[in-house]
Amino acid sequence: MQIPHEVTARPDTGLYNAKLGIWLFLASEVMLFGGLFSAYIFLRMGAEDGYWPHGLLNVPVGAANTVVLILSSVTVVLAWASLKMRKFSQYKLWMGISILCGALFLIVKLAYEWPQKFEHFGAFIKKDAIAKYEPYLGNAHLKEKKLAPRVEISGHLHEVEIDATAADKEKLDVFLKEHDLTSAPDAHDAKLQLVKGHHLTPGVVEHLEKVPGVKLIAFEVALDPVNADPTNPESDKPHFWYKGATEKIGKIQRQDVESWSAFAPKHSPYFAVYFTITGLHGLHVLAGVLIMLYFWLPIEGGANMFKRNPEHLANRVEVVGLFWHFVDLVWIFVFPIFYLL
């Protein structure tokens, strides 16, 4: 039993089945990402002044990834054209490049961009304590320039101050050892302890807080440039070139903090929607790479199909190409709204 129009187009519609199928699927994908992008607009419009972060992402890296993805969209068309001209070795080359570009995009995203975020620390200051942190926030300067206020202090965790008098000492010691951390009594207040170490990420501190009896008192943070020098006019707008945390240490009392975390999804609606959309987009890139790999490898249903039915293989590549263009297009929206705006 052979389903009609699997390879050749139906004359009145001008489409073979899979081509119609992928367009319909893409229509639903538009609505899926449309739902998420509407959530972005809705949340951003509803955000209070200053609560929608800017300039936290690495623009040059994102721009480079954009180029990689657009390039792969070109090569996948070249791969399809090669098949249409029945040039197999050219097909292998162009398809191979497309796969490598897709993989490169994912590696940059997963091995570089995301992990960097998970180590970064941010704390939203309570409204009644904002004045106390003026040296880090520079709100007077911003007000003068009629810019939105700053409500967050961010950087890399340097030390945290804890009250361990009521803590389960044994469990605390085990925890510190496990995470390669050291603790020493605070010079100013002997009741408090300073915890530090190379692996003091926000995630570790969250677990530290869960050790029975441990009370978090303060964070000491190597400040981001924007908090280290808040009145510098250069910080009024997001930077193009990414600048890491400075050497300058700032101290934030836990009781003055509304919420704190890594630059993880729970940090704010901004990162929530950023990680959800880029995560879902990443899954689409992964799916595209796997499917293209399937059509590239010398297997039944893949590149071996060239000998038996080259037109069918060309159709398959055309369909995955349409999908790949869509994935590319989503990124064209993602890049400006998260990195630039």
């Binding site: 039993m1 389903i3 009609p4 129009h5 139906r10 004359p11 009145d12 519609t13 489409l15 089945n17 119609l20 199928g21 319909l24 699927f25 229509a27 639903s28 994908e29 609505m31 899926l32 990402f33 449309g34 739902g35 998420l36 509407s38 959530a39 809705f42 949340l43 509803g46 955000a47 209070e48 609560y51 939203f124 509304e258 919420s259 975390s261 993880a264 999804p265 729970k266 940090h267 704010s268 609606p269 990162f271 929530a272 929607v273 990680f275 959800t276 879902l280």
Partner: protein, 624 residues
């Protein structure tokens, strides 16, 4: 086409069929045959309809007898659903539905009936089984995707069923799952981080949505690509049109809910704040969320699906009723073209009415006015459809067969459902009626004696094609009259209660507000008794359905003397559906054509050469 070519094609098909033996697993379980997938969807969906109805019967017991143990099966219920849903009464008799259990059952009744009962049966089961046959296709365009669709659906069913037995019980935030309630529900030291009611609900829904996306792509592609030669657009049976528009609604309306489901999953599993407002306080304590989210965002995304979903529920039903009415009045549908136009307008408008579910959120007068206008507009195509079906009865020599009984009952029942919806379209009226039993009565009239009656009509109509045997007429009539009477006994008093102000989520049936609703509270007992009797009335159907598979009267290939192509196959149809090449020569409803030798002319019957005004034979490739 020459005779030789026809014979050759016939041989090829028969040859194919002869060698088709995929083995037990590929034939009955992991089948790619659209008919088997349709049956799988149908049986699973009917089982879920029964299950969802049983949940409701337990709730109705609680509403009529608040705080009393469910008789006879109380102990069993407690064993099945655990002590969070059922407790013992003062005398120690087990089986009192707790408030927690009531909320769970209510939320799951809605979810199961809509997403696991009616859509799988009305859209997926009938669509899968009937649509390819009606357009003369050998299968769906993508048989393997079709199989994937069913198994995605099956996984979602497992998620929903498992959620009843995890600690804390199934989801309990209503079928709408409004945050922040749904964001904080089932989270806590006693609940597993993943195996808790609400998280399983969201995960199950993501699978369910994926299944319906795969299905709808397949339906649309099949209808566009695999129509038999001569099956032009305006020769499609109305049921195919209904499925076509329904598939588009599912395709485009469901993804935003999938996005919302993913966001709710993020809120629950990764502590994000998509739907968590700033400064949320639960049980007197500030919460872990950063805030900055919006519960209203969920409502927008949810209703962007859930309003088109209403039409997903009703359109396949209208399609089935149209087929059955044309067949049993022995005359063409009145206004076929107007109906096709109306169904497209309906489909389009259903995307721009969603916020009429949200008048209570204080969107402001301008936004409310917009949605009020679109909502009133959408009643126009709905009325065109119902009026056309009513007028189709006029002057027909009606045969009251089993399918026709249900189809005729559908018309006034759906009419009541539709007309009672009009007041709800108006902002000012809705503010009073919102969340009362009036709303419950309104949409149940549309879906229960509406769509479910259409489903029953469809089951009685196409059962012979699927099994080769007729359903028993006597049991069928018992089923019909019992259902018709008792279903009205449940839903009509809801209007009276709702107008008196009875709220839909009162766990004790309003006992705590007795002073306010005294004139209508006695209806609780009447409605609950009706519900139990409606349950009894389904027993003849269940017996009939199972018994007739083996012992029913044998059906011929075309037992209803129908014109459409699905009856032009052997009964039951073999793999590949047709034993001859299908070519379509005429429209779908050529009943009682003057001068024809019988009162129906099948779509595949070639025009007689000697007739002067015969339709032109199709070209080799279909037109359009």
């Amino acid at each position: 086409m020459s005779t030789a070519a026809l014979t050759h094609a016939h041989d090829a098909l028969a040859h194919d069929d002869h060698h088709y033996d995929p083995g037990f697993w590929r034939k009955w379980v992991f089948s790619t045959d659209h008919k088997m997938i349709g049956v799988q969807y149908g049986v699973t969906g009917l089982a879920f309809l029964m299950f969802g109805f049983c949940l409701m019967m337990v709730m109705r017991w609680q509403l009529a007898h608040p705080g009393e143990a469910v008789p006879y099966i109380g102990g069993l219920l407690r064993t099945l659903f655990g002590s969070s849903a059922f407790q013992s009464d003062a005398k120690g008799i087990p089986g009192v539905l707790t408030a927690n259990g009531y909320n769970s059952f209510g939320a799951m009744h809605g979810t199961i009936m809509v997403f696991f009962g009616i859509v799988p049966v009305a859209f997926a089961a009938f669509g899968n089984f009937v649509v390819p046959l009606q357009i003369g296709a050998i299968d769906m365009t993508f048989p393997r995707i079709n199989m994937a669709s069913f198994w995605c659906f099956f996984i979602s069913c497992i998620f929903m069923l498992v959620s009843f037995v995890v600690p804390g019980g199934a989801a309990k935030s209503g079928w709408t799952s409004y945050p922040p309630l749904s964001g904080i529900a089932d989270l806590g030291p006693l609940n597993h981080v993943f195996m808790n009611g609400q998280t399983l609900w969201v995960t199950g829904m993501v699978f369910n949505i994926t299944a319906s996306l795969l299905g709808s792509v397949n339906f649309i592609a099949t209808i566009i690509q695999l129509r038999a030669p001569g099956m032009t657009w305006m020769r499609l049976p109305f049921f195919v049109w209904a499925q076509f528009v329904t598939a588009f609604l599912l395709l485009l309306a469901f993804p935003p809910l999938e996005a919302a489901g993913v966001m709710q999953l993020m809120d629950r599993a990764f502590d994000t704040s998509f739907f968590m407002p700033t400064g949320l306080i639960v049980n007197g304590a500030t919460t872990q969320w950063s805030g900055g989210g919006s519960p209203i965002l969920w409502q927008h995304l949810f209703w962007f699906l859930a309003h088109p979903e209403v039409y997903v529920l009703i359109l396949p039903g209208i399609g089935m009723v149209a087929e059955i009415i044309a067949n049993n009045t022995r005359k063409p549908l009145y206004g076929y073209k107007a109906m096709v136009g109306a169904i497209f307008v309906l489909g389009f408008l259903s995307f721009v009415v969603w916020a009429h579910h949200m008048y209570m959120t204080g969107m402001g007068a301008k936004v409310s006015a917009f949605f009020q206008v679109t909502t009133v507009m959408i009643s126009v195509p709905s009325v065109i459809l119902v009026t056309a079906l009513m007028l189709s009865l006029w002057g027909g020599s009606i045969r009251f067969t089993m399918p026709m009984l249900f189809a005729t009952a559908f018309l006034p029942m759906f009419g009541i459902g539709g007309l009672t919806g009009i007041p709800l379209a108006f902002n000012a009226v809705d503010l009073y009626l919102h969340d009362t039993y009036y709303v419950i009565g309104h949409f149940h009239y549309v879906v229960a004696p509406g769509t479910i009656f259409a489903i029953f009509a469809g089951v009685y109509y196409w059962y012979p094609k699927a099994t080769g045997r007729m359903l028993n007429e006597f049991l069928g009539r018992m089923h019909f009259w019992g259902s018709l009477i008792f279903i009205n006994g449940i839903f009509f008093p809801m209007f009276l209660q709702g107008m008196a102000g009875v709220h839909r989520r009162w766990y004790d049936g309003g006992a705590a507000y007795e002073q306010i609703i005294k004139p209508v509270i006695h209806w609780n007992n009447f409605m609950s008794v009706s519900a139990f009797l409606l349950g009894l009335a389904q027993i003849p159907f269940i017996i009939n359905f199972c018994w007739s598979i083996w012992y029913g009267r044998k059906a011929s290939d075309n037992p209803w003397d129908s014109t459409t192509v699905e009856w032009d196959t052997p009964t039951p149809p073999p793999h590949g559906n047709f034993t001859k090449e299908i070519t379509v020569y005429r429209g779908p409803y050529e009943y009682s054509v003057p001068g024809a030798d019988k009162d129906f002319t099948p779509q595949t019957e070639a025009p007689k050469a000697d007739k002067p005004h015969s339709p032109t034979p199709p070209a080799a490739a279909p037109a359009h």
